[in-house]
């Protein structure tokens, strides 16, 4: 039987589908009996999803003028 800590250490491989069968069965057996680990797994997955959905942040408009100046310095057309 895995401890909760051991289970948490396996989550990257588990979610990537890279856990060997025997370890995966042990992990799933633990999850079936341990509500805190089940909640941990679900919230770990939500954390990943939230991160994946971060929008790009536009650079400040002043940077465009700096970029044009740098292009002029380098003799690049702009």
């Amino acid at each position: 039987m895995l401890t909760c800590r051991q289970l948490v250490e396996l989550l990257v491989d588990f979610l990537d589908g890279e856990l060997p069968d025997e370890r995966r069965r042990l992990l799933e057996a633990h999850l079936a009996l341990c509500q805190p680990c089940w909640a941990y797994l679900e919230t770990y997955k939500v954390t990943i999803r939230m991160t994946r959905r971060l929008p790009d942040v536009p650079p400040p408009p002043e940077l465009l003028e700096k970029l044009k100046a740098a292009m002029r310095d380098e003799g690049l057309a702009g």
Partner: protein, 198 residues
């Protein structure tokens, strides 16, 4: 002695006019600036890196043949520029980082109650407050973990590609990614946890 980082070179080409500053800024600025800002945790440093990378884009975009190769090249150039900038700013301190997992478990079990989160799909995708909390949690990560987390979970790069970019093993990348996720999850939990059952 560390070898100087090699800049990837775009594939040789046959067409395309040079990009203007406006095109480069509007087309690639948000991607480059977001990645640099998350890796460096500083707006000013991200601006420097963005300017440097966009100049490279303007110089080299006309030499690009395969459009499919361009996003990979842009990622690599941005990551390299961000890492070089950080090295210039201050030599990276190789210090011992306490394993974040140590403080979450006692005798192998969760040290604190673990509750579900009340967060819906729309909150995850659209809520500005959620984005702000996640950005803050990323900025608070130790650099050692932040690079891997940003490249894997924000940018969606495969672990093997990240390992090649950072000069690490895949298992080291996975280990750091997991610890970063644990820290980000830990930072977000108080904001989303459901109230305890009475």
């Amino acid at each position: 002695m560390e070898e100087p980082r090699k800049e990837p070179q775009p594939a040789p080409s046959r067409h395309s006019a040079p990009a203007t500053a406006e095109e480069a800024f509007h087309e690639y600025g948000p991607r480059v600036y977001s990645l640099a800002r998350r890796m460096l945790g500083s707006d000013a440093d991200a601006e420097d890196v963005t300017q440097d990378v966009l100049l490279q884009v303007i110089r080299k975009l006309p030499t690009f043949r395969g459009e499919a190769a361009f996003p990979t090249w842009l990622h690599r150039v941005t990551v390299n520029a961000a890492l070089s900038h950080r090295e210039k700013r201050a030599r990276r301190q190789q210090r011992e980082i306490h394993d974040p997992i140590d403080r979450l478990f006692e005798n192998g079990s969760h040290q604190h109650p673990v509750r579900g989160w009340s967060v819906g799909p729309l909150d995850e995708a659209l809520n500005h407050e959620t984005h702000r909390l996640v950005e803050e949690a990323i900025a608070d990560l130790p650099e050692h973990y932040r690079d891997v987390f940003v490249l894997a979970d924000v940018e969606g790069l495969p672990n093997a590609e990240i390992a090649a970019m950072l000069g690490d093993s895949v298992s080291a990348v996975k280990n750091r990614l997991h610890r970063a996720r644990v820290l980000v999850r830990h930072a977000l939990a108080p904001h989303f946890e459901e109230a305890p059952a009475c």
